[in-house]
Amino acid sequence: MRRRDLAFLALGIVVALALPRVLYSALALRILLWALFAVSVDLLLGYGGMLSFGHAAFWGGGGYAAALLAKTFELPFPLAALGGIACAMLLAAPIGYLAIRRRGIYLAMVTLAFAQMLFYVANEWRGLTGGENGVQGVPKILPGLSVGRTADFYYAALPLVLVGLFVAYRIVHSPFGHVLVSIRDNEARAQALGYPTQRYKLIAFVLSGGIAGLAGSLYAIGNSFASLDLLHWTTSGSAVLMTVLGGMGTLWGGAVGAAIVLLLEDSLSSVTEAPGVVTGAILIAIVLGFRRGLLPEAGRAIEWVALRRRGG
């Protein structure tokens, strides 16, 4: 098990390093950051059993905060991203506090409602956010290095993304993570065992919001702008879709889902008239064909082949 994890890790890092060479750098950066975003959603959905349909609030909240910090104070981007994380976690605390009182679809609706509120605040607060036009012209700063080009920024941001992924991995594989899984499976029993389940859920929510905030911060700075799209409900929807597509409760499934969705969106935008329809059809086919998500199904396929070979 351990060896397979290491192999996966090595493969992941190689893919992450090679991505801007294989694709163009802007697309590679988008995939990298959406992957981190989807992982943050999976942390909550796959391990905590909480379907947040408002994660755009943290991705966008972090994005706007980082963009404004980088633009106003000309901060180096890691510092601006720290600000973005803080902002996202500050948003996640009260939203999470209220949302975790409900479960399932109701939790999803509460988070969606808060994200929509934030969307309209950003739209109306034009003096700060630039409204529809967004915060434009955000500089990419890193003392001592030039990261103005997207390809350079990709490699500068990669360590931060890896830290984010590592934090998610550590959370899941810690005692805290195991308690979280037990709450997902049977909250009443976890409570009976003496765990303060609400507190666990809230902490998970805030941590997940923070990781989404990191991804959003880097996304806004990498794009040089933060726009209303960051906060739009379809952004939350895409993140959930990527997670489900790649496989819930696998942590890295979201990354696979992100890559597939973005590659489809990108390649179809130049060839068809209705990229949405074609993407949708392909995604429905994948979800129907691979119920558990791509990553778990792929794992099962590998095991099956290995078994066959051993048997034959």
Binding site: Y24, E132, G134, Q136, F225, D229
Partner: protein, 436 residues
């Protein structure tokens, strides 16, 4: 380089050293050319057009716009066709090798998402080596691409986005704004309507960036020409119910002389329909419209719009020059061009002309050719590209929708009432606040 293709200075290489091989080569070229001139016409070689040297051996032009959403009709795929037409006509005029290499048009659907627009623009510039990008509706997407263009030092010629920020706070050396902006619309319609239809205005606008810009521009134009905006109200955007009755009933009570509607597309369709249902026209309240595309008239119905006065950079039926383009366009796409289609053609054409003049597609050299350039074509009249902020100044038109009984054909929607001179239709430089 001299007109005949050879000169003494070419005997020196890039570093200025005298090069014997070059002298021999030049002497041979000169001899061949002398022979050619004496005999038959030169076969392709030697014409001034071959002086153009493309940096990558071919010219790639990108069109990024909305091909599946709300702006797909007014620009969309047909705008791509317009750019392709420009390339074909350019080759027909100057020869296949007019720019010293093949000319390619590539396109992407940005789905009105600024992040998709930004990454597509980077792909076009970096991967496909595009030297220019055209069109780009949705102001947030346009501003995002302007930033990419500035960073990558490649050209971006905006056409469909209306925001004045492109030539203002967000301007840069490589971004140009063609066709129209909110200032032009207000300067034309605001002035004419205030002077001719009524001085008391009630403005309704969709409550997002475009609508707010329009409200501001119209308010200042109306006031400037002696009118008075009694009140202005925002309508929710997007307006899912399509219900504007609250605002229109209010208009009935306020009894302004003019109702200024800044809504666009589907919202505009509803406003006009309800304006007709409430019979505001019979109460003496005239309708002025901020932005109108021919495709909107198709959707609303010509007779529902009849009598409405609006400002536009171009009408396909305005004169023979415009008509001949519209005929070609109709043959190719099955519809008459909107001004956005025509502007895409014109911008692509002028860009290629600038390459011809510059002798290269190098961005700095082309920018130098474009800045301050004065020109006329079927779309642009009295055009001048303002060097300071890259706004393409040109005459705008005041047009009126005519009833279908006066139309000569299905798409014959409007007649031209008058011309708004370029100076009046352009935002004064002092207000632009552009620091390149």
């Amino acid at each position: 380089m001299s007109f005949y293709g050879t000169s003494v200075s070419e005997a020196f290489d890039e570093k200025g050293r005298f090069d014997m091989k070059r002298v021999i080569a030049l002497a041979m070229v000169a001899a061949v050319m002398a022979a050619a001139c004496g005999a038959a016409a030169p076969s392709g070689g030697g014409a001034p057009a071959t002086a153009v040297k493309l940096t990558s051996g071919k010219l790639v032009m990108g069109v990024i716009n909305d091909q599946s959403g709300v702006y797909a009709d007014l620009s969309g795929k047909n705008a791509v066709e317009a750019v392709k037409m420009a390339v074909e006509d350019f080759k027909a005029k100057y020869g296949d090798n007019a720019l010293g290499g093949p000319i390619e048009v590539i396109t992407a659907d940005h789905q009105n998402k600024p992040d998709v627009a930004s990454s597509k623009a980077q792909e076009f510039y970096e991967r496909n080596n595009a030297s220019v990008i055209f069109d780009v509706p949705t102001s947030s997407a346009a501003l995002a691409i302007a930033k990419v263009a500035g960073d990558q030092k490649r050209l971006y010629i905006n056409i469909t986005a209306a925001t004045t920020d492109l030539t203002g706070a967000s301007c840069n050396k490589y971004t140009f704004h063609y066709a129209y902006d909110t200032y032009m619309l207000a300067a034309g319609t605001g002035k004419w309507v205030t002077e001719n239809l009524g001085k008391q205005w009630y403005i309704i606008y969709p409550n997002y960036a475009f609508g707010q810009d329009m409200e501001k521009s119209f308010r200042s134009a109306v006031t400037k020409f002696g009118g008075n905006v009694i009140q202005s109200d925002g309508s929710p955007f997007p307006n899912q119910t399509g219900d504007f009755s609250q605002l229109l009933l209010k208009a009935g009570q306020l009894k302004p002389q003019v109702l200024g509607a800044m809504q666009a597309g589907g919202d505009l369709v509803n406003v006009v329909k309800q304006y007709n249902e409430f019979k505001l026209k019979d109460q003496g309240i005239k309708l002025a419209i901020g932005l109108l595309f021919d495709t909107d008239i198709t959707a609303i119905g010509q007779d529902n719009m009849a009598g409405v006065v609006y400002t536009t950079p171009w009408v396909w039926s305005m004169d023979d020059q415009a008509k001949s383009f519209a005929d070609k366009f109709l043959k190719r796409t099955g519809i008459r061009p909107t001004f956005a289609h025509a502007a895409n053609y014109s911008a692509a054409w002028q860009y290629m002309e600038a390459i011809r003049r510059a002798g290269t597609d190098d961005a700095d050299a082309v920018v130098k050719q474009l800045e301050g350039y004065k020109f006329n074509d079927f779309f642009i009249r009295n055009g001048q590209i303002r060097a300071e902020d890259h706004w393409v100044m040109h005459d705008a038109l005041l047009a009126q929708v005519k009833p279908s009984s006066e139309a000569k054909e299905k798409f014959d929607y409007s007649k031209v009432l008058g011309t708004i001179p370029a100076e009046t239709a352009s935002r004064p430089l002092a207000d632009a606040n552009c620091k390149k």
